[in-house]
């Protein structure tokens, strides 16, 4: 297919490199894209999903929305505004939007960056986006901790359950226990109740008292406090029992969840012996917060740091610049902070990019930037507090017995990981991976990475920082798509490409390619 091959090689930026490429169209990416376009920048948005919104802004397909009006989540109004502005900018050509495209790697070409994309489930070659600047708004994925039975059908991720409710209004079960740690659990439990499920218990491994120890942070974030109270009240009305300092330490059922064991846990999240009790349910929504999606950033060479929640995140300055010139980031990649912070940071990053393009701060948006900076500081402080309160205690490792699967892709148990550590001398996640294949499967350690790191480290390491994995390509890519990037192809292929000049962009790509 010489035609499609040459098209795959054509840069989507057109004649000149696009001003700004935004990777990800969740709250941060959308806010950044429309703000940058307002400033007159040429923006290309690349997003893996079929429709904009990311993990947070999800809308049910139209036919379902008609049946269940009012099911859209709170905050959707902000989304509508962003969509309206996006549509207007797309109409003028200011924003070019690539949905269903995944950036698998980014490479320098002179002063520009080349974003290499794939499209479709299979990972077929997509256009290359040439850009002078990159804004990473790649979001996050769910952090999981393994325990006996967590792979039984009917156990779903808490964020996954929320996403299911938002996009398809599908309930994971009729009687759903919500467990794990973090404020997301409350939102999930409320959504489940609203969608008609019974939620017998919300099981939180930390305590909410941790928040009270930082009154000034709370005072600076009244909205968060209000939200927490509102959720608390809704849960009380629905008869949801909130069990803090507790964890689901086992799931029971053969083919399907039938019950869970809830145990009290101490400050280190170690189960209190004899405290386990059984709760009957047909589904479990479990999650331990989110972890930033950093593959591209790490490959580009951006510095990372470890946030209070124990997960690595990008090191950013006040202008949302990463340590690599020409690369900004907004939202979860800089540390998990939620939708409000993502919106603030997306807009702030776009103002910063515009200021750099114009060679100095912009007077017309100075006031706006100041208030965004204030909001960011307050919300980042809250995010750190939240991360510290809900950071998994080291005792969670006692939940997983030797038969508990940790890496589901490669079916690696906690016992094998422990053997790799005690017998073979592995003391970090990378070496455990080399010895056991944990993290080498389909998800490339996105699900088990945190748990493997925790199981590999000894207590004497203290809070030794997990270093983010280098995982290129950032998503699976067909070998034929990779081969399509080869510019040293045999003469036949080159001739084939030149026979279909119409498929190539006028700017060509010869000059933008490394030899």
């Amino acid at each position: 297919m010489p035609g499609s091959r040459s098209e795959a090689r054509a840069p989507a930026g057109g004649r000149a490199a696009t001003g700004l490429a935004v990777v990800g169209a969740g709250p941060a990416g959308l806010a950044a894209a429309v703000t940058a376009a307002d400033h007159g920048l040429d923006v290309t948005v690349v997003d893996a999903a079929a429709a904009p919104g990311g993990q947070y802004f999800r809308s049910p397909p139209e036919e379902l929305a008609a049946v269940r009006p009012g099911a859209a989540p709170r905050g959707q109004r902000g989304f509508d505004d962003l969509l309206t502005r996006l549509t207007a900018h797309r109409a003028t050509g200011r924003v070019r939007y690539l949905s269903g495209h995944h950036v698998w790697t980014a490479a320098r070409t002179g002063d520009d960056w080349a974003l290499h994309t794939v499209t479709g489930q299979a990972g077929e070659g997509g256009p290359m986006v040439l850009t002078r600047r990159i804004l990473l708004a790649t979001g996050a994925y769910e952090r999981q901790l393994p325990f006996p039975g967590w792979t039984i059908p009917g156990v779903v991720g808490a964020a996954g359950a929320q996403a299911m409710l938002k996009s398809g209004l599908v309930l994971p079960g009729r009687r759903v226990v919500v467990a794990g740690s973090g404020p997301l659990l409350q939102a999930v439990a409320v959504s489940l109740v609203q969608a008609g499920a019974r939620v017998p218990a919300l099981v939180e491994a930390a305590g909410y008292g941790g928040y009270a120890r930082a009154p000034r942070v709370l005072a600076a974030n009244p909205a968060k406090l209000t939200e927490g109270l509102r959720h608390g009240a809704a849960l009380a009305r629905a008869g949801v029992r909130v069990m803090s300092h507790s964890a689901v330490t086992a799931v029971h059922g053969a083919d399907r969840v039938e019950a869970v064991t809830v145990s009290r846990v101490d400050r280190d999240w170690r189960p209190v012996p004899g405290s386990g009790r059984t709760l009957v349910c047909d589904a479990l929504a479990v999650g331990h917060g989110l972890t930033p999606q950093l593959e591209l950033a790490v490959e580009i060479g951006c510095d990372t740091t470890v946030r209070a929640d124990g997960s690595p995140a990008l090191r950013l300055d006040e202008r949302l610049r990463t340590s690599v010139g020409g690369v900004w980031a907004a939202g979860e990649p800089g540390g998990i902070g939620g939708v409000g912070l993502a919106l603030v940071e997306g807009e702030l990053a776009a103002h910063a990019v515009a200021a750099e393009v114009r060679g100095g701060p912009l007077r017309e948006t100075a006031g706006r930037v100041r208030s965004l900076l204030r909001a960011r500081r307050a919300q980042r402080a809250f995010a750190e507090l939240m991360g510290a309160v809900h950071r998994p205690g080291p005792g969670w490792r006692d939940w997983a017995d030797d038969d508990t699967e940790v890496c589901r892709c490669e079916e690696v148990t906690a016992g094998r990981i422990r053997t790799a550590v005690t017998e073979l001398g592995a003391s970090d996640a990378r070496t455990v991976k080399l010895f056991t294949r944990a993290g080498m499967g389909w998800c490339q350690g996105r699900t088990c990475g945190f748990a493997v790191h925790e199981l590999a480290r000894s207590d004497s390491d203290g809070a030794r920082a997990p270093t983010p994995d280098r995982r290129m390509p950032a998503c699976p890519v067909l070998l034929s798509a990779l081969a399509g990037e080869d510019t040293t192809a045999d003469p036949e292929e080159v001739a084939g490409a030149s026979e279909t000049p119409g498929a190539a962009e006028p700017g060509g790509n010869g000059g933008n390619r490394l030899p």
């Binding site: 490959e299 280098r470 699976p476 067909l478 990037e485 390619r513 490394l514």
Partner: protein, 396 residues
């Protein structure tokens, strides 16, 4: 306050070569400490495919070393746990045209005279040997002696066995100094970030970083990184039985050029993914993924095995082969500093050559006659100040 410990031998580096040195040295009754700034198999060992090859070696000292090592691997495969995944899968080298087939057959003839098993495979039989090979190839040579191991586990298991024989393993400790007798005498020990190890023998098994360790002892060893990328596919049912590579691979291995060379090297693994190599380029310790390199590997692999075109690549990784200018490792005592031994610079063949290297080093340390002549591997052969019979060859 550093701890001071006396041992007979300090091995610097916990890759497969260091593990092999520790294994054989501790089994010959020496007390051994293995020091590495990182974990076991944290360098090039953990970034390789685990090749134990004779097929890619021309007759000469490296082939002799490979044949010795292979016999040791076969022995050890009986003793070490199965998880080292020792697989006597055999290698298949294929030629696209008659010219490369002619060259391949000629080199196979020479290899046979040195004890390598090599069988000609006619074009019509190629797909009996490898059912998914592309049509139209001119022929190939089957090398049944070629084997594979899981390199990281092999290193870890060797080191584990060495520890059971009494060796001490000190991961996460960097060697900061190799000190000797005052006035230019022999080695007396090493200082690490945590302790002092008094020892009359230090073995530099630091692989690609061997030049830096040599410099700590005040001697020069020109080890340079030669980068390679490997593509890892999604898990597949068994598709590829042998290690399969194109005849041009041998020329690439032997090339001294810093520029990029790629030739298709394709093989399956027990866990299912297919591994695709091999690229060689000297670009320092550059870690960024190179799109042109992986693209070329992908194109060449799918030309050799068209079935792979529709397979997804889940991961790529890179490693830095320890390159010495004449493609031979540095093995043996360093004439410039008594007590200093080198066991590094094996380029892309370190897994395969590790056991012979370790066993030869242990013999010399114990005062026994080594099973092979070590002169071609003399670590000081690159030093213009050392009068050496090898000097003229590499200096030209």
């Amino acid at each position: 306050m550093p701890i001071r410990q006396p041992v007979d031998v300090v091995v610097v580096g916990a890759g497969v070569v260091g593990a092999a040195c520790a294994y054989y040295a501790s089994r010959s009754g020496l007390s051994v400490a293995v020091v590495d700034r990182g974990p076991v198999a944290g360098g090039t060992t953990g970034a390789g495919e685990g090749n134990l090859l004779v097929s890619d070696k021309a007759p000469g000292p490296e082939l002799d070393l490979a044949l010795l090592s292979l016999s040791l691997w076969r022995e050890l495969a009986e003793e070490l746990p199965e998880d080292i995944e020792f697989d006597p899968k055999g290698g298949l080298v294929v030629a696209a045209g008659d010219a490369s087939l002619g060259a391949l057959s000629a080199s196979a003839e020479e290899q046979r005279a040195s004890g390598v098993e090599a069988y000609h495979v006619t074009p019509d039989r190629l797909r009996d040997v490898e059912p998914h090979l592309a049509p139209g190839l001119a022929g190939g040579i089957l090398y049944p002696q070629d084997c594979q191991v899981q390199p990281a586990l092999a290193a870890a298991r060797l080191l584990h066995a060495a520890r059971r024989a009494g060796a001490l393993f000190l991961p996460g400790e960097e060697v900061l100094e190799i000190y000797g007798e005052p006035g230019g005498g022999g080695v007396r020990g090493v200082r690490t970030s945590r302790r002092e190890l008094a020892a009359a023998v230090v073995v530099n098994a630091a692989g690609t970083w061997g030049g830096r360790v040599a410099a700590l002892a005040g001697v020069q060893l020109p080890v340079q990184p030669r980068r390679g990328f490997v593509l890892v596919t999604e898990p597949l049912p068994p598709l590829i039985r042998h290690k399969v590579y194109a005849a041009e691979y041998m020329a690439d291995v032997a090339s001294g050029s810093a520029a990029l060379q790629t030739s298709p090297v394709v093989e399956g693994t027990p866990a299912g993914p297919v591994l695709i190599g091999a690229s060689r380029e000297r670009v320092g310790f550059e870690r960024t993924l190179s799109v042109p390199v992986v693209a070329r590997l992908a194109a060449q692999a799918s030309a050799l095995f068209p079935v792979l075109a529709d397979v997804r690549v889940l991961r790529t990784y890179h490693g830095f082969r320890p390159y010495l200018p004449d493609h031979l490792p540095a093995i043996g005592p360093d004439g410039r500093m008594p007590g200093l031994f080198h066991a590094c610079g094996h380029e892309g063949a370190g897994i395969g050559l590790a056991l012979a290297t370790g066993s030869l080093i242990a013999s010399v340390i114990s005062g026994e006659k080594p099973a092979l002549d070590l002169a071609p591997f003399a670590p000081d052969r690159f030093d213009p100040l050392v009068p050496c019979h090898m000097t003229e060859e590499w200096a030209s």
